[in-house]
């Protein structure tokens, strides 16, 4: 029959698959696709499409240099942690005109990561507001782009007026271990119970 390219999905052993969803938010060009790519065991379900002139005036390319494509489909990443526990990462489309899709991706999410580019910090405001309103636990990850100015996470946290319970961490979205550390910070924060939104 069809070959199985990943482990841990067999129902034959009686183990029930336990999937958890983590959504990745942040502005257009903040590095969401790279972030998902870095740690996923499958090729993301994304389609990078050439930016057309239709997006001029909508998609802000300042500082993005050679970015000529954008994600129109779904950034999807899969991380098998144990035989039954699988993490799914979904990148939310960054452009505000796609924000109608956010509810669906965020439904029932374990938590969220907001990727921020310090040169364009205001781009992540929409995601921060969104997860605060939805009461989805989240971390803010500052993607350290080459050549971008360095800021203390505390400074950025203050600039974003984040609740002290929301961790702000530095990361390199290209580096799998850095991406993993962001996810660890998120899950540690959730299991720490801060935020007081436990349902039981």
């Amino acid at each position: 029959m069809a070959s199985v390219p990943f482990d841990g999905t067999s129902s034959g052993t009686g183990g029930e698959l336990a999937p958890f969803k983590i959504v990745i938010g942040g502005g257009f060009g903040a590095g969401k696709t790279t972030f998902v790519h870095a740690i996923s065991e499958v090729r993301p379900l994304h389609t990078e499409e050439a930016l057309s002139t239709a997006s001029i005036g909508f998609d802000d390319l300042t500082d993005l240099g050679a970015k000529r494509t954008t994600t129109v489909a779904l950034d999807y990443g899969r991380i098998t942690l144990t035989e039954r526990v699988v993490l799914f990462l979904f990148g939310l489309p960054g452009q505000e005109r796609f924000s109608f899709m956010w509810d669906e991706f965020s439904y029932g999410a374990l938590g969220a990561v907001v990727l921020a580019d310090v040169r364009r910090l205001d781009d992540c405001f929409a995601s921060v507001n969104y997860f605060e309103k939805l009461q989805v636990p989240f971390v803010v990850a500052l993607n350290c782009f080459d050549g971008a100015p360095k800021y203390d996470p505390e400074e950025v946290s203050a600039a974003l007026d984040l609740d002290p319970s929301v961790p702000t961490v530095l990361c390199d979205a290209r580096d799998p271990s850095s991406v993993r550390d962001v996810l660890i910070a998120l899950v540690e924060n959730i299991s720490g119970g801060s935020g007081g939104t436990e349902s039981r």
Partner: protein, 130 residues
């Protein structure tokens, strides 16, 4: 002189993309006819009943592909990834299979449900071991 209308080779000269448009395989349906809309990480599995007979009219090739993949537990997102079909199309086809009794939903995650500490610890341990 009049242009030759209906030149059969004419349309082939341009790239029209896929021959079959995504929602053609659902016969134009963009939402399941019955039942709830499945979440991306809802888990489904084949029941081994229903559409296993040889009647080719029972489903499209896409239905049969999805049914074959559902031999082991999979999420809706996995199915979309493995088949290359849009998530919306997978949902419609899955709803057909569920209605036939060929596939069942194993697990649905309620919104806003914080998993227990043991599960969170399992996730943390798994991440640290990566």
């Amino acid at each position: 002189m009049m242009a030759v209308l209906g030149d059969p080779g004419r349309w082939q000269r341009r790239n029209y993309g896929p021959v079959v448009r995504p929602y053609a395989v659902t016969r134009g349906r963009t939402e399941p006819e019955v039942g709830v809309v499945l979440d991306l990480i809802d888990v489904v599995v084949a029941t081994g009943e229903g559409a296993h007979d040889d009647d080719p009219a029972r489903g499209t090739p896409e239905h049969r592909t999805i049914l074959a993949l559902c031999e082991s537990q999979l999420t809706v997102a996995d199915l979309a990834s493995r088949t290359g079909l849009p998530v919306g199309v997978v949902r419609v086809l899955l709803a057909d299979l569920i209605e036939q009794g060929a596939v069942t939903v194993v697990r649905q995650r309620p919104a806003g449900h914080r998993p227990g500490n043991d599960v969170l610890q399992e996730i943390l341990n798994g991440l640290r071991a990566l």
